[in-house]
């Protein structure tokens, strides 16, 4: 029996994605998001989660997909990576899946619109393809870009 991992799967458009369940803290319905001006365009804003401020990333925007209207299925997947909590807006959450590691393959290049650097691999269950995301990269990428942006701003201000 091969080693398995558990993933929370969700949808963006017609594609199915998965994140390691150990990194998912909770899944919430869409709530009012406070817009943060001058933040990177994929930053939806911040929400109040029981007294804590949680930044929200619009995953569609992060992956360069067109934005979608929020529906009753829209969810915020709250994750925690390296002590940082981040919420991600997804079209809908499907289920918790168990994937055998030998069912996971490296991401083929140019597989989807998602830049391959954010992909850990692609899992196969019967005829379904689950794109496994590397959350740490999604977040650190955000941070890096933002730092660059603010450095540029600091230089401009000085």
């Amino acid at each position: 029996m091969a080693e398995t991992i558990q993933v929370v799967s969700f949808k963006l458009g017609s594609e199915e994605y998965g994140v390691d369940i150990a990194q998912v803290q909770e899944i919430n319905r869409m709530v009012a998001v406070t817009h943060v001006p001058r933040a990177p365009q994929f930053m939806e804003g911040v929400i109040n989660l029981r007294g804590q401020l949680i930044p929200i990333i619009d995953l569609r925007a992060r992956f360069g997909m067109p934005r979608a209207e929020h529906s009753k299925n829209t969810r915020i997947v709250v994750t925690e990576i390296a002590g940082k909590r981040v919420g991600m807006v997804v079209d809908s959450v499907s289920e918790v899946l168990r994937l055998a590691l030998d069912q996971v393959e490296d991401a083929p290049e140019m597989l989807t619109g998602v830049e391959t650097e954010y992909i850990r691999g692609v899992g196969k269950i019967e005829d379904r393809l689950i794109i496994l995301l590397d959350l740490a990269r999604i977040i650190s990428g955000a941070e890096k870009r933002e730092l660059e942006a603010s450095d540029a701003e600091a230089v401009a201000a000085a």
């Binding site: 406070t34 943060v36 001006p37 001058r38 933040a39 007294g51 955000a142 933002e146 201000a157």
Partner: protein, 649 residues
């Protein structure tokens, strides 16, 4: 050194010594436990031994300054044993490590006795004999131990001092101790005289004057007369103890208080709404009305208690910046000697309070700046004289509060930043091109380039690649601002502006494009509702005239790129003060004042110009907090604000 005298308060030093030593003794314990793992293994971890060596050396040095001879002696002997281990001249045996553990305990007992001023513990001499006997086996030159250490090996770890320096320092310490002893006596005398006067108001005024004129003898004379006053004092001194608390626990407490404040506000809101609804419905429901009244009364009470808790916790976290400044007189003195320079250090504002976490973080950047002033700022005496300056240079450390910020300045009266050299260096480094035309301030900014140093010789102090860029980064990380100003031939001033705390403030809530923003109240001068026709345009920027003063405007909605229709008739303006200047922030409407808990925006979002954080309001919604400083700076950069109005900022 005249100015540093007033900072030498022996009791403060003793307390500092106790805290510092307690921490070092703990680290010694941990290191010894780790070292024990190497017993009889034939090898040891050099890092652990070096750490032990340094800890003991620090204790020895501090004890020496305070003239705790016993502590100094034991620390010295133990240090010597670690030196033997370090040089591989002694194997690590079970017997040896036990002696070292025992030594640590003896040292602890001695430190406690010295701090409390009590009798030294028994058995010290016996321990010293055993330790000497043990070390003597491995160190045939044991008798040399007492002499000043000057071997080349020690220099790796320590700043070498020659005999003359040691002697000079010893003399200085003695002088300071003598000076502080007199100061303490004067205080005691004043206290005694005060107690005397309170006890018996009929004491003749001339007697008081005569005594005050000679404070020191009075202490002696007054003490027997007022034993009742002296005794409680001593008791109080004994009770004046501190405990060290894990900063995480304080943070947790602060967070909890933050939640409490939010909920307190919410309860006030509910009480208010309930009261209004009952009044509005004109209901004469007696019981309900009484309940509503009770609720609003107890919520007012809750508010008061919460405020007090909040303030107390804030105070617990606040410490004087002097804790950091204290290390500089010694450092500047040693460095100046080593560089052959004559430097006076002037310290002002040491009592300025700021948050503990900030104080902890600011030491390193400050040390770097001070070293920079000593190394690169102040010229050698002969050069100064040739330039018509006094032979001795002056470095000033100054701290003060400005609004909800603390300003710390490090300035010197040295040669200033050599713009030509900075420019040449930048060209050599490829940061700018030969053809680039830069203004003087722009050239100064080049020193923040990573790896930048104009020092012609790399010294062992500064100029080793850890440059101004690191200092600036550290200060930005603290949500502070760092700037440098330099006048050739006259000197350089480094200015850091740091947030006072990361906590709770009063704010003015305003509406902009359907969102609520909070503007820290201490930046707000007034709010104004003026006719749209009174807004003029100067150099492409909007201004209003307020009591004869031209005030530039920033439209928050435009700055934040938000959709907000302009009111064609009226303009709502919050006038904020910034370094003596006024700026008007245009908003949609005012929503009143409120106490808010500052929460940082997540690292994931990063720093955003114009926003310092966010807060959660009583109804659970989020309000972003406007950072007036960075907003104005960024607006200036984009040319949205009339530059002419800011030329002096």
């Amino acid at each position: 050194m005249a100015s540093s005298d007033e900072f030498f308060d022996r009791s403060e030093f003793v307390q500092y010594f106790r805290d510092e030593t307690e921490e070092l003794l703990q680290s010694i314990d941990a290191d010894l436990l780790r070292l024990e793992g190497f017993v009889d293994s034939g090898g040891i971890d050099a890092e652990i031994v070096a750490s032990l060596f340094r800890a003991l050396h620090t204790i020895k040095g501090s004890a020496g300054m305070l003239e705790f001879a016993d502590v100094q002696q034991i620390a010295h002997k133990l240090e010597n044993v670690y030196d033997l281990l370090r040089k591989d001249r002694m194997p690590l045996t079970e017997h040896g490590i036990n002696l070292l553990f025992e030594g640590r305990d003896v040292l602890t007992a001695l430190v406690r006795a010295a701090v409390a001023g009590g009798e030294p513990p028994t058995g010290v001499e016996e321990y010293v004999e055993r330790l000497d006997a043990f070390a003597g086996i491995y160190d045939s030159t044991a008798q040399v131990i007492e002499g000043p250490r000057a071997d080349a090996d020690a220099e790796e770890y320590l700043t070498p001092l020659d005999d003359a320096q040691v002697a000079a320092f010893q003399a200085e310490v003695e002088r300071l101790l003598a000076a502080s002893a007199t100061a303490v006596d004067a205080d005691a005398a004043q206290a005694a005289v005060d107690a005397f006067l309170t006890a018996d108001a009929t004491v003749a005024a001339p007697a008081f004057a005569a005594r005050a004129a000679q404070p020191a003898p009075v202490a002696a004379a007054a003490a027997p007369n007022a034993p009742s006053a002296a005794a409680p004092d001593a008791k109080r001194a004994a009770k004046n103890q501190t405990i060290r608390v894990d900063i995480d626990r304080l943070d947790l407490l602060l967070n909890l208080v933050g939640e409490l404040v939010i909920n307190r506000t919410r309860i006030s809101d509910i009480a208010g709404t309930l009261g209004r609804q009952l009044d509005g419905g004109a209901r004469s429901d007696g019981d309900l009305a009484t309940l509503a009244k009770d609720l609003s009364e107890s919520s007012a009470l809750l508010a008061r208690t919460t405020n007090e808790i909040q303030e107390s916790i804030m105070k617990v976290r606040m410490v004087p910046i002097g804790q950091v400044f204290d290390r500089f007189p010694r450092m500047v003195r040693d460095l100046a000697k080593a560089r052959g320079k004559d430097i006076h250090l002037e310290i002002a504002g040491a009592e300025t309070d700021l948050d503990k976490t900030i104080v902890d973080e600011v030491g390193e950047p400050l040390m770097h700046l001070v070293r920079n002033c000593v190394d690169h700022g102040i010229e050698p005496p002969d050069v100064r004289e040739a330039n018509g300056k006094p032979r001795h240079g002056t470095i000033k450390l100054n701290a003060y509060h400005e609004g909800n910020q603390v300003i710390i300045e490090v300035s010197d009266d040295g040669g200033g930043i050599d713009l030509q050299r900075v420019r040449d260096k930048a060209i050599r480094m490829g940061v700018i091109a030969e053809s680039d035309r830069l203004s003087d301030p722009e050239i100064i900014q080049l020193i923040f380039t990573p790896g930048f140093s104009t020092a012609s010789a790399v010294t062992d102090v500064s100029g080793r690649g850890v440059g101004m860029d690191v200092v600036k980064k550290n200060i930005l990380r603290l949500k502070g601002v760092f700037d440098v100003d330099s006048v050739p031939g006259e000197g350089t001033t480094f200015t850091m502006k740091l947030p006072l705390t990361l906590a709770i403030i009063q704010a003015l809530l305003v509406n902009v494009a359907d969102e609520l923003y909070s503007i820290p109240l201490d930046a707000v001068i007034e709010s104004q509702r003026i006719d749209a026709a009174d807004v003029r345009t100067v150099h492409g920027g909007e201004v209003i005239t307020l009591r004869g003063q031209v005030v530039p405007l920033i439209r928050i909605a435009e700055f934040f790129r938000l959709d907000a229709p302009r009111d064609p008739d009226k303009v709502m303006i919050v006038i904020v003060g910034l370094q003596g200047r006024q700026v008007g922030l245009v908003v949609d409407s005012f929503q009143g004042e409120q106490e808010i808990v500052i929460k940082p925006l997540s690292d994931v979002i990063g720093r955003i110009a114009g926003i310092s954080g966010a807060t959660i309001l009583g109804n659970g919604s989020i309000s972003l907090i406007i950072d007036v400083h960075s907003l104005v700076a960024a607006a200036r950069g984009t040319g949205k604000v009339t530059r002419a109005e800011f030329s002096g900022v």
